[in-house]
C-alpha cells in the first residue's frame, strides 16, 4: 500500500510542472463558458466529459453559434483525429483491469501522452500512470470551474475574451508546423478556410474541414498512383 502511495505521489510530481501551463488555459475556458451565457455546471460537464482542451474551446463557440450536432460531431472527429496515433506508444499494457483501461483511454489527452512518451514510461506502474492522468483531469476541472465562477464577476464592459480561442488555435498551428514544416499544407488549409467562409459562414467548419480532408486523401492517392505498382 505504501508502495502504491509513493507511486501516486511520483505521478503527481510529474503533473505539477505541466499544471502551470494547464491552469491558465482552464481558467480562460471557464471564463468563456460564463461569458457565453452557460451556467457553471456546464463548465464542469464539458471539462469532465469531453476532456480535450482545444475541442472544449471550440465546443463553447459552437454552442454560442447554435451549430448543428453534425457539425459538432465532425469537428470532434477531425480535431481529435491525432489521438489515433497515441495508441502506438502509450503504455496501456501497464494499466491492468478493464475499468482502469477505460479510464486511461478516456483521459488520454495530449498532455497525458506527452508525459508518457519517455522510454522508462513503458515500465511505469499502473498507479503512477493513472495518478498522472487523474491528476491532470482534477487540475483541469478545478481550473475550468473556477474560471466559470470568476467569469460571472467580469463587468460587461470588458469584451473580446473570446480571442483566447483564436490565439490558442494559432499557437497550436505554429506547434503543428514545427512538427510538419509544409507550406503546401498551410496554403491548402487557408484556401479551404477561405472558400468555406465565402460559401457559408454558418457551415464553414463542415465545408472547409471536409474539403481539406478530401484534398489530402486525393493528393495521397494521386501521388501513390503516379508512383506506380512497384511501390
Amino acid at each position: 500500500m505504501t508502495n502504491t502511495r509513493s507511486e501516486i505521489l511520483a505521478g503527481w510530481k510529474v503533473v505539477l510542472p505541466v499544471s502551470i501551463g494547464v491552469i491558465p488555459l482552464g481558467l480562460a475556458l471557464g471564463v468563456l463558458v460564463a461569458q457565453s451565457g452557460l451556467a457553471w455546471y456546464w463548465a464542469l460537464l464539458i471539462s469532465l466529459i469531453v476532456f480535450a482542451g482545444s475541442m472544449e474551446f471550440l465546443l463553447v463557440g459552437l454552442f454560442a453559434a447554435a451549430a448543428p450536432l453534425t457539425q459538432i460531431a465532425l469537428s470532434a472527429f477531425l480535431v481529435n483525429f491525432r489521438h489515433v496515433f497515441y495508441a502506438l506508444t502509450f503504455p496501456l499494457h501497464r494499466v491492468d483491469g478493464i475499468g482502469w483501461k477505460a479510464y486511461s483511454t478516456f483521459t488520454l489527452t495530449d498532455e497525458a501522452y506527452g508525459l508518457t512518451t519517455s522510454k522508462d514510461a513503458q515500465t511505469w506502474s499502473r498507479a503512477k500512470i493513472l495518478a498522472i492522468q487523474g491528476g491532470l483531469q482534477i487540475v483541469w476541472i478545478l481550473a475550468v470551474v473556477t474560471g466559470a465562477l470568476l467569469g460571472g464577476l467580469i463587468p460587461p464592459e470588458i469584451i473580446g475574451i473570446d480571442f483566447a480561442v483564436t490565439a490558442l488555435f494559432v499557437v497550436l498551428a505554429i506547434e503543428a508546423y514545427k512538427a510538419m514544416k509544409s507550406l503546401p499544407v498551410v496554403a491548402l488549409a487557408l484556401l479551404c478556410a477561405l472558400v468555406g467562409a465565402l460559401i457559408s459562414k454558418e457551415h464553414m467548419l463542415l465545408i472547409s474541414m471536409g474539403m481539406f480532408a478530401v484534398a489530402l486523401t486525393s493528393s495521397y492517392l494521386f501521388a501513390n498512383h503516379r508512383r506506380g505498382e512497384d511501390d
Binding site: L78, F81, V84, Y86, A87, L108, A167, V171, L205
Partner: protein, 111 residues
C-alpha cells in the same frame, strides 16, 4: 437562451467521439502502424485543422471595418511573434488575448 438538451447532446457526442478516437486504436494497432494513408493524414491534419479553426474563429470579423479588423491583426501579430520568440503557449495566448481585450474594450467605451 441555449437549450439544455442541445448542449447536453453536444457534450455527450463530442465526448463519445473523442473517447472512441482514443480507445479504439488500441484494438487495431497493426493496421494503424502499417497504413501509409493514415500516417500521411496524421502528419498533415493537425496543422491544417488548426489553421482552419483559427480562421473559423474570426469568420465574423468585418474586414472593411478598421475598428474591428485592426485589433484582430495586431493581437494576432503579438501572439505569433511572442510564440516564435518564447515558445510559451500560456504566455502567447494570454498576452494576445489581453491586448485584444484592452483594445476592444477601449474602442467600445469611446463609441
Amino acid at each position: 437562451m441555449t437549450e439544455p438538451w442541445y448542449v447536453l447532446s453536444g457534450i455527450l457526442l463530442a465526448g463519445a467521439i473523442t473517447w472512441a478516437l482514443r480507445a479504439l486504436p488500441f484494438a487495431m494497432l497493426a493496421p494503424i502502424r502499417h497504413s501509409r494513408l493514415l500516417a500521411y493524414l496524421g502528419e498533415r491534419m493537425p496543422l491544417g485543422i488548426m489553421l482552419i479553426l483559427a480562421v473559423y474563429t474570426v469568420r465574423n470579423v468585418n474586414v472593411t471595418e478598421v475598428s474591428a479588423f485592426v485589433p484582430v491583426l495586431l493581437a494576432l501579430t503579438i501572439t505569433v511573434v511572442l510564440h516564435l520568440w518564447r515558445s510559451n503557449m500560456t504566455l502567447s495566448v494570454l498576452a494576445g488575448t489581453g491586448i485584444y481585450v484592452l483594445m476592444m474594450s477601449l474602442i467600445a467605451m469611446n463609441l
